[in-house]
Amino acid sequence: MPDGSVGQAVKRREDRRFLTGKGRYVDDIHRPGELTAVFVRSPHAHATVKSVHIDAAMASPGVIDVFVGADMEQDSIGSLPCGWTVTDRHGEPHKSPPHFPLVRDKARYVGDHIAVVLAETLEQARDGAELVEVDYDELPANVEIVKAVGGPPLHEEAPDNLCYDWVLGDEAAVDEAFAKAHHITKLDLVNNRLIPNPMEPRAAIAEYDGGLDSYTLWSTSQNPHLLRLILSAFVTGIPETKLRIIAPDIGGGFGSKIYCYAEETVCLWASKRVGRPVRWTSDRSESFLADAHGRDHVTHVELAMNETGEFIGLKVATRANMGAYLSSFASSIPTYFYATLLAGQYRTPAIFCNVKAVFTNTAPVDAYRGAGRSEATYPLERIVEVAARELGMDPAEIRRKNFIRPDQFPYNTPVALTYDIGNYEASLDEAMRMINYRGFSGRKAESQARGKLRGIGFSAYIEACGIAPSSVVGSLGAGVGMWETAQVRFNATGTVSVLTGSHAHGQGHETTFSQIVSDTLGVPMENVEIVHGDTGQIPMAMGTYGSRSLAVGGSAIMRACGKIIDKGKKIAAHLLEASVEDIEFKDGNFTVAGTDRSKSMAEVAFTAYVPHNYPEDLEPGLDETAFYDPLNFTYPAGTHICEVEIDPETGVTEILDWVAVDDFGKVINPLIVEGQVHGGVAQGVGQAMLEHGIYDSGSGQLLTGSYMDYCMPRADDLPSFKVGMIETACAHNPLGVKGCGEVGAIAAPPALINAITDALGIMHLEMPATPEKVWRLAQTAAAE
């Protein structure tokens, strides 16, 4: 019988193992005879590596081997590729300099990989690593985005440090709009560098089987198949048939575990070279240095308006930091995941964006929760707010006036997207109701009476996720397709194994996907097992990023279920001696239409595997694979409003209230969806108030290299959140769903900065809004 659980707040099936300490993360796994790897990392931001002396390390107790870049070169191990080629404004491909897992000539950021020490134990490997002597010729460091072009060059392939100079939109139309504008608002802003910090540090264990000449790699990966593809096709040459990648329980990713990293590549290669399994687990300090970072833009934005406050043109110029090398998808983030979102929820008819991506002596920058879309929403929702203040308009009303209206969908934006559906006014209205917007002035006065400054901030965001139609991303330079796979396999006894290419690292797929399968096939949830994270079991797949698991992975599961039902009808028709066209499937039963004659799904499954009485022309078995390539992105949108109170004496900002009203289309499990909103908002609050990856501009040392200096949001930094939802079902996937994982991180930063600047009565301050910054501005505001 079906659970009827779709739409219900079903408690998570995966919780029990995590709550009892039985989760199985990469570092929990051990292989017989394993060695532990420790990396020798560059202490310099930019330096020529003249020589590496390994003799002392090799003589250290327990050390088995030490390798450098030349050893990998000898074995023809290639460069870690960037999988997305951006074409610049002159039609040239972006600059993609080599990125070797162990450096061959220069160290290009603090933490860059110079050598690896393999030893019997972790401490012995550390002892050995201390004994590796590296002769460096220090070079001047190139750290700041705005000074990168023309600064000390990192790569021969990009002598001016420019990766690309890229444009999107109709520049002439924008110029025309600005020429006739009634009012133009301008703003300069910085999107601060973030360090993702999933709580589980990255880890890898590689094991080579000499008999089979094959490898197994356990990796903290969000997308084991994609990692296999990159390692096989571009880096190691190991055939995909000889490389199995297992990504077991993974402790959070937020983008940072999408990429193909140096460490796992080195472990994989070294496992054959030394003939023993090689394990590596990152220290948190190493995570700070060598995980891909996020954001890091400097942007100038201008908004042109007519007499009534309608937006008529938007112009954006951004410099985006790529770091020292191009990470796996780095180039696409400040382009196709950024500029395409600059229309937001608005009808702005002309938009032009120019992005210059630069190399610097800092860790590579790639997608981090909200990637690109968060960077787009911030300047847009900030400049709309500033425009409202300059024009003396209510922040809600300026937005409402410019919203794309429900009757205008599908809506083609001037920045290449087609929004399928939405109702922006509905979420704005609901958010205003939930926060009691009308009561704000009274609350502000009450704060003022206590010597505090109260502010309110709006963020009406949209994002494009559920990536992505393969033909679209292919035409834009992606090196891969972005479909997803699912295999729905009935066992003879009626249980169902669902093999999905999506990977869960906190998102609760085992529950959500089970709900879908249970409802669709009419089998109890406990009979459904979700299998993910193993290239040895699951057909070729693409993995989890860009809020795609349900919209794309879930749709693939729906497709496979559809095939199961189609085949089941044929089997049932045979058993019931009816024609296939007359068989209806509902609630787990195949029924001859208009009769009470039926066969259950379990009976049909059993028959499929014990086909004693079976259609002649039908294969036995009930096991269907489907691939789903989405027709479009999904476009979750909504309004977040937050209210803050500032203590002008210290500059401390307290978040008093947070309302999130989002449109995720159909919601399969509201408990899980709300949890995704909470977590996303927390990361957005982190960006706006707390987190900042800072490199010293002279030395290129990372100044925020641990939790002592990089400020992670804690429980007492955050309020309880009020989450509301409105629903316009996605028009183009079978579930009617939209992605939900990233919206909080996209919506939150401008909401908070809008609230803080409202409280202070100023136009702008840079993120993160630390107490000292706020205090200084509060002093200035008080003095005026």
Partner: protein
Amino acid sequence: MHDFGYHRPTTLADAAAALESAEDGKLMAGGQTMIPTLKQRLAQPSDIVDLGAVEALTGIREEGGALAIGAMTTHAEVAASDLVKARIPALANLAGGIGDPQVRHRGTIGGSIANNDPAADYPAGCVGLGATIHTGKRQIAADDFFTGLFETALEENEIVTAVSFPLPGQAAYAKFPNPASRYAIVGVMVAQTGDSVRVAVTGAGPCVFRDRAIEAALSSNFSASAVGTSSADESALNSDIHASAEYRKHLIGVMAKRAVAAAGG
């Protein structure tokens, strides 16, 4: 971390002996600073002498108008002690705000003051309350104990045994924590006993110090409105990515004011 010899004496004499005989021995109290330091390989002692089993270093007693707190008393014990809460609530409050609950269950007053981290809370507590530090061989006034950045008056192998705090008239501690590490960016202990007012500041400079200007202001009028501004020399204050010297100096005044208000002034 590098390996070391581990010793767990049960008496002070044995602890001293173990330390004397070690090539480069280090005392460990609660280990909440030492173990992270060792993990980062920033120190490489030959031997660790763990004071965790020395009974004589524990306990909180009231004697002669003062509270004597054994060096190995944890922050959690001080924070939860009915005696401390009754006699010097400011001290219980300070201890209850150090680190996080798990650190408070292990970290000790003796370890904290011997380490003298510039952003630790206890140095302000000791100096502000005019405490006396007892060691195996002598007594040192808190004013003389904290001598500089991670520096104290302790001689080599000298072991802190207890800290005694005279009971103040009114006192309170106010801290502005570093949002990341939660150590003090500025922490101020204010105490008034009779005519005397002491104002000790941690976090703002390389070492705890008394703010004489605020002390003078409060001596004539022990009220929040009288605090005024700090006399600290801004050029001698800490400045980092979290807070400039100017902001720290400002916060000294604000925290002092809040401490005075909390103390009932």
